[in-house]
Amino acid sequence: MPRPKPNKLHDELDALLDGRPVELTDELAPLAEAADALRAELAAYQLDPGVADRHLERVLHGSATVVSLPDRGQPNGWDLRRRLAAVVLAAALVLVPATMASAAALPGQPMYPFKRAIEELRIASVQWSPSREATERTRVVDARVDELDRLVELQMFNQLAPTLDALKQAVVEATAAVNDARKQGEVAAEAQDQLNQVVGLSKQVLAKVADVAKSTSLPLTGATRSAINTAVAETQNVLAQPGRQTGSGGSATAPDPNSPPASASPGSGSSPSSQTQPSTSAPEQPTTTQAPAPTTTTPPTTTTTPEPTTDSTLTPESAGGGGDTGDEQTGANGRATEDADPADQAPADSPNP
């Protein structure tokens, strides 16, 4: 079998495409430019979150009809419309219950990770527009507030502390997104208004949660009560001055193993414009002694002040949640060999039956 000739240019181009440092020669420059143009165009192809919902539902519940591609002849105009109607109907039948089911999911329930993943997909799909991202992140804050409210109503107290952490994280990220939108000159007033409203609502629900923790008539263990108190205090701190907590938000919690790394911009924490709440709305001081430092002593930069003991108490189920951080293992698959016969390189598993 004839072997390909070694070619330095091929290797250099390959290194360039992998992002390894290579001197950009005259020969490589147009190729790199073409590769960049292709990458940029491909990056614009984003999967619609609604479609992602449909695909996941099809796999998880096996109830969706697979949208079949034409196998016998191309449909004419009437057939196409009829098929389109059938697809829309099938999608509606599947999508509506799935979306409703996952939207109603609470922390600790089986559909909850699905709900969080959908939120991440929705955010990822609007990241090209800072103002849309801000709106989407505000919606996430609203979802966390709603969950807290329902957890209290259903007396699911053991989920309160992690949900408070998730709320705190969501507020920090939403605030950073609003600030980013403003910095980039986008119209962020609407997003800011929405965020202010949701933050106001959060304070009301938080007061409710604080009452739960104080109540002696409820069946709460000491550890749960303490965790709730601490989480309430921290969240109140963030709600009072959301912009200043950006840096600490990412390190304090890892709300869900499904969530990608926090995308809050570290620099936005120092922005004075992020003071959405006046200082008169000081947070209610909790009874616990584990309350974080008062806001007057909070450093203005993004320096983090981790509290390891608090973290472990607050997010017991999020340990190991950093597994999805996308560690680069270039060339991790060591089975491919440079000069082996293609037949020897065939994978062990046939992809399709």
């Binding site: 292709l38 992602a52 591609l69 993943a117 270039t330 991790a332 440079e338 293609p342």
Partner: protein, 221 residues
Amino acid sequence: MLGFGGEREAVSKVGLTAADLVAARRREPAAVTRVYTAYAPALFRFFMAAVGDRHQAEDLTGTTFVSAIESLPRFRGPIEALGGWLFQIARHDLYDHRRKQSRSRIEPLEDNLNEAARMAGADDPEELALDRVDADRVVAAMRQLSDDQREVLLLRMAGGFTAPEVAEILGKTTGAVKALQHRGLASLARVLGLRSPEQPQERPYPSPDPGRLTSQEEEER
């Protein structure tokens, strides 16, 4: 780097673990969602660039993912090989799709163009064509490459695979993949009007018939 024996600690470059793989085989919602979130965007980009139609690309992405999850109990490789395996299924589905398309009856062009324009939200086919020329200039230019070149570039750029990984997916040598990506990009640069010193204009490459290989490619195989 871990092989088959070290599955427990292995993490793929998209952040999936061996535990995710085990859980996805059991169709646990969280794990299936993680696998989907990790690979569906890349699969969709691959299909979009290959078929040039959003609805078809969405359907192909869904079909591939469903078959992958259904076949997952038969996948015995390490977690790092999951992406390559998924894209092998994707290629298989793409070939299937193309075969079915090629058998299709010929419909009045006007009907198809009007339908496509309507589905894309354009007023008429002309507007749709102009929109697409602007938005998909590079991907459209890729249609002038040979099938092999196009596939290698898509797996590299849309799938995010390294040359050895692409070689394994396609059953070629790494050297052949590097050569194909080089010539593919050179042709692309030329079609896009970028300067390409490697290949003078008079060289009859790529082949006018993408299905046919040039002698040089044939040699590399």
